[in-house]
Symmetry: C2
Subunit: 138 residues, 2 copies
Amino acid sequence: MNTYMQTHKFLIQKNIKPSVQRTAVMEYLMINRVHPTVDEIYLALSPDMPTLSKTTVYNTLDLLVRKGAAQMLLIDEKNARYDADISKHGHFICQSCGKVSDIFNLKPELFEIPKHPQYTINTVEISYTGICNECKSN
Amino acid sequence: MNTYMQTHKFLIQKNIKPSVQRTAVMEYLMINRVHPTVDEIYLALSPDMPTLSKTTVYNTLDLLVRKGAAQMLLIDEKNARYDADISKHGHFICQSCGKVSDIFNLKPELFEIPKHPQYTINTVEISYTGICNECKSN
DNA sequence: CTTTGTGCAAATTCTTTGCACCAAA
DNA sequence: TTTGGTGCAAAGAATTTGCACAAAG
């Protein structure tokens, strides 16, 4: 089975009606695990889907997040970024090149939801900033 | 000594030339620990400083962050927020009312900088989302 | 003087909205 | 045929830029 059909199936499991556009966006996120921006997704897909609109990309990403099929990252000041990996992991952004990378193997305690008398906490986001090796050596 | 003069002194310690505008922005951040947006700071200060421009507020906040006198929070999708408290603590945003609160007393391990072969990490940001009690009961 | 900071207006960028058309059930 | 999805254009909001004037040293 190809990735398009796998993605189609995945969306149904997540209770998302799989249109061609939605499947393409989700498939793109699943294959390109670089935390793309809305624009990057739109620019990557539009050559093969000339009528695709950015509005649909926005709508689809909102839907994917609401249904728990993806997460929005607030690590890049400039743009929202999206990640198909909703497992517990952190992110790193290089303040020089802006690339966003996964940080796996963090202690599970980091993702524990703290008990707080005033707030009911649902999600945890852990973000690191710094410089990547490539930028450092230039 | 009043808070204005204390702030003035603080800016000098941080190697920031203390103009009236810069001192006012920093003082506002130090007194109002509610993680205000640029607009909130501007609207709060402009009655007493009618010529203040939002550009100056932007410039000043950038400078404060670069000099380590404040931090920018990327927890609110809509706007950047600023915090004069640069000690290790987390933040919570209520997805209903949008208010951003401090989360103190988190385990110090959470703020440890992980060693990573590819990245030199400088800062850690820990953000929680959920619902606050007030919104819950409404 | 010379450098640095401020503030206005305009421009840019990201995101949302309104609405007409299309597609699927 | 009804509901929901898509896509265009326009609107809205946040932030940045260019430039002239003001302030400080």
